[in-house]
Structures are given as C-alpha cells and as structure tokens.
C-alpha cells in the first residue's frame, strides 16, 4: 500500500507525525510519504526506511506522490480536501485543534464537519483511532469515486445561479 500523509504548508503537526510513525512501525512493507510542514522534527523518521519525509515537497513531487497514493491522510486544509474530492482519492482527516496549539482557531474542525456531511470522508479527533483506521485497508472509505462527478453537477448549478445573479445585480 502507498499512503500519503500531509500536514499542509504552514506549520508542523506533531500528532500527524505520531500517526505516521505508528503506521510505519506496524506496516514495514508499505511505502509512506509524509509532508510534515515547516519546522517539523524529521530526525525521528531516519529509523524508518519505508517513510519518505520532508518539511515541504516541491509541487511536482507532491503531485507525483498524491497520484500514486492509495490513501491520503491530511490535516483538514481546504486545498488538500478539494484535491482529494476532485480526484476521487480516498482520504481521512485529522483536523488541527486550537486548544492543542495546532492552529489559531478551530476552523479545521468546522471544515471537516462540513465535508463529512456531503462526502464519505472520515474525520478523526485522536491519533489512536486514526492510526487504527489507516491500518485497516478493508475499511478504507469507498464512494469517493463518485465525488468528481457529484462536484461537477454541484458546480454547474452554482455557475448558472451566480451568472444570473451578476446580470441582475
């Protein structure tokens, strides 16, 4: 299995790093990629030959890993979520929490809640349950295959409404 983990481009995310290590330890055969975010501690990953970790990958490298991944595990950043939905890529979310100093506020929790209402994207609050879910491929989210076409339909309706609005304003 190929699993990509990403903490976005703004800050490190130690709880995500914990999940990567947990999965790496129990599934040495899997190829894991981790974009850990600026300022992340990468030394802890040198003991794992099955993990490619970097603070930030170039956009091309990121895209390569993303395309190859069987599963993407991401912080609840809108850019990564939209990319997963647009490509029908199975994904899981670990929202950053303000009380743990992971972001300025809890907007990632709101984002995750909103997304999970419309698409089969599981959201996790703790690292243990996320790691367990990643380690059980039989239960990975299905149904994301339909996300791209669902989105095209939703946007077509929005386009019509918006352009009519711009005419009559």
């Amino acid at each position: 299995m190929k699993v990509m983990f990403t903490a976005g481009t703004q800050f490190a995310f130690p709880r995500m790093a914990e999940v990567v290590q947990g999965v790496a330890r129990l599934q040495p055969e899997w190829a894991l990629v981790f974009q850990a975010g600026p300022g992340a501690t990468l030394e802890t990953f040198t003991e794992f030959s099955n993990v490619q970790a970097a603070e930030l990958f170039t956009a091309d490298r990121f895209q390569e890993f993303f395309d190859a991944a069987d599963l993407v595990v991401t912080h609840a950043g809108m850019g990564n979520i939209i990319a997963c939905l647009e490509h029908g890529k199975p994904c899981m979310l670990l929202p950053r929490q303000a009380r743990l100093g992971e972001h300025r506020n809890d907007h990632q929790i709101d984002t995750a809640r909103a997304i999970t209402q419309r698409y089969p994207v599981p959201v996790f609050n703790d690292t243990a349950s996320l790691a367990a879910a990643v380690l059980a491929p039989a239960n990975w989210p299905v149904g994301l295959k339909d996300a791209p076409s669902q989105m095209v339909t939703a946007r077509a309706e929005f386009t019509k409404g918006l352009n009519q609005l711009l005419q009559v304003l």
């Binding site: 984002t111 946007r155 019509k160």
Partner: protein
Amino acid sequence: MKLLCVASFGGHWVQLKRLATLLDAEELTFVSTDAGQHHGAAYYLEDFSIRELWRGVRQLPRALRIVRRSGADVVLSTGAAPGLLMLFAGFVLGKKTVWVDSIANSKRLSLSGRAAGFFASRVLTQWPELAGSRVHYLGRLL
C-alpha cells in the same frame, strides 16, 4: 463586466480560485493576502481577523485605491476579514458587492458574512439550510 475577486490566502483562496472558473466575466482581478507565499493576485492586503478591526480600518485607504484602480463593477469575496474590507470599499464607491460564505460554515454564517449582510448587494451561503431573507443559496462548490 469587470470583477474584483478577493480572498485571504489558504482555504478561502482555494474556494475563490474554483469559483472564478465558473464566472462569466470579461475581466477578473484578484486580491489576496500573504504576498510572500504566492503570486496569484494582482493586489495584496495585510491579513487580519475581524476581531482586530483597527488593522482593517487602517487599510481602508488602500482597499479604496485597489477598487478604483481595478475599474471593477463588482467586488466578490469568499472571505475572510480582508474580503469584508474590500467589499466595504466597493460599497463606499457604489460598486455591486457579493459575499460567498465558506463551505466550512455549515452551522452558522461566518462573522464576516453576517457583517457583510448589512451593506453587501448579496450574501450567499453554500448550505441551503442557512438561507433566509437576507442570505441566499444558489449552489455550492463541493
């Protein structure tokens, strides 16, 4: 029609870029924040939160200049506070203004969106259950 499209860098910007591809306009000009992190916009503002109103007020002259210079007929924003400031500048200069609230706000409109409700030509939500007399639902990005 010339549109000035505004969003803070991050999730709001991602939504704005998707939204822009849907719009039927003769000219789109982008305004954003975090000039050091991307080059996608023609104009930049300093990022601030709606709770730090003075940092917004201080940038009002700049916002007015951007609206004038762009020659826009409509100012549209997906958030957050800097988008609200640009909408207000558009309102002051007699332009049409549209607020598209983030898909993340599924329970309640954002504070900036509610503030936009006092002067914007139109406030849109991406959740039909949040639509009411002053807030409209026309569709969604996701």
